[in-house]
Amino acid sequence: FLLTPGNPKWKQTDLTYRITNYTPQLSEADVDAAIEKAFQVWSGASPLTFTKILQGEADINIAFVQRDHGDNSPFDGPNGILAHAFQPGQGIGGDAHFDAEETWTKTSENYNLFLVAAHEFGHSLGLSHSSDPGALMYPNYAFNEPSTYALPQDDINGIQAIYGPSDNPIQPTGPTTPTACDPRLTFDAITTLRGEILFFKDKYFFRRHPQLRSVELNFISLFWPSLPTGIQAAYEDPYRDLVYLFKGNQYWALNGYDIQQDYPKHISNYGFPSSVQAIDAAVSYRTKTYFFVNNQFWRYDNERQSMDPDYPKSIASTFQGIESRVDAVFQQNDFFLFFSGPIYYAFDLNGNRVTRVDRSIRWLNC
């Protein structure tokens, strides 16, 4: 995080705000709700309180304006610059302006007013931009599901550096952004996708392209806004050009960016017993799909569309050398790459043995 140079801050912690005009694209009630929720993001992590006033001069004035609007920082029409805000201080200090020519929404459609407002109020309180791509104060817009939004740890650290800890006896904590070459990095799920490899972690996924050196970190919501975070298992069915993602007892089918109709479905569709309520890892190979749960695995026949008989079996008995619980697995060149904690095991499906053990982050070119 970065504090605004000169460390401007509000002397008082009980601040007022006023919405001086509204956008026609949302009802006033929706704007009020988005703004209120955006302030709650910061009050939940600090001693600050925010009260809405309807008249008079508020500390933080909120307005929808366009193009040149008299503050020497003109807006630029749809997209580009979405909004800006001023550091704490008198007059224009603390005020937040939203580009009236943007499309403001309360959904995953660009641009979600709650998320942009929460970012701008960070400036109103004394924060500058963070270089942490997962932080709220990162300069670029990135959709995150508002209903489950949690202020990232980087932003909590920033606001508390200015105003001190929250009055809440239980100090809030937030998600941290995975860094590709952190040797402790573990993965939630891994799948191939049309020649690329996607490594899922919390609300992110690393995207590795066979021809590119650098590995991209993206929000899951960037590609699939309606998917939950914390994907637990994933596999690609290359014959159907589908990727299946699992969380709890639900699963989704994706075709590229599109989530297939009528999903999520219940994993009992695969024929799991009711005792199985979540899957650790999954991988498809030729006409079979393997599901790993604790120390056992099931084998599903993609053509008969049913579980093979005599399963589950113990993982260790079939995949010798894979002794610990499997976090994630994918298939490449007749190898199963098993990931458990920060380690991966290359299991040769022809030789039926582990031929390599190394750090998981090797797959992120570290």
Binding site: T4, F75, N79, G80, I81, N110, S131, N140, Y141
Partner: protein, 81 residues
């Protein structure tokens, strides 16, 4: 017909200058612009931006840099003057 490369380059340069002026305090007005905006200042500001976004710090408007500059964002500069 294929866009001639120099007009694409001019376009890219415009995107870069516009972005750096807005968010990295590249001087705007003409005198300061000519005097101060010799290539080295633009390269230095470009490196600052690439550093901030964790891109390869090349000082050149490569594809990943131009792509980052096109993303919708907040209007507050990334580096305070």
């Amino acid at each position: 017909f294929p866009v001639s490369s120099e007009s694409q380059q001019e376009k890219n340069l415009e995107v870069v200058q516009n972005y750096l002026q807005k968010f990295y305090h590249l001087p705007r007005n003409s005198y300061a612009f000519e005097r101060k905006n010799s290539a080295s200042v633009i390269v230095q500001k470009l490196k600052e931006m690439q550093q901030f976004f964790g891109l390869n710090v090349t000082g050149k408007p490569n594809e990943e840099t131009l792509e980052m500059m096109q993303k919708p964002r907040c209007g507050v500069p990334d580096h305070a003057e």
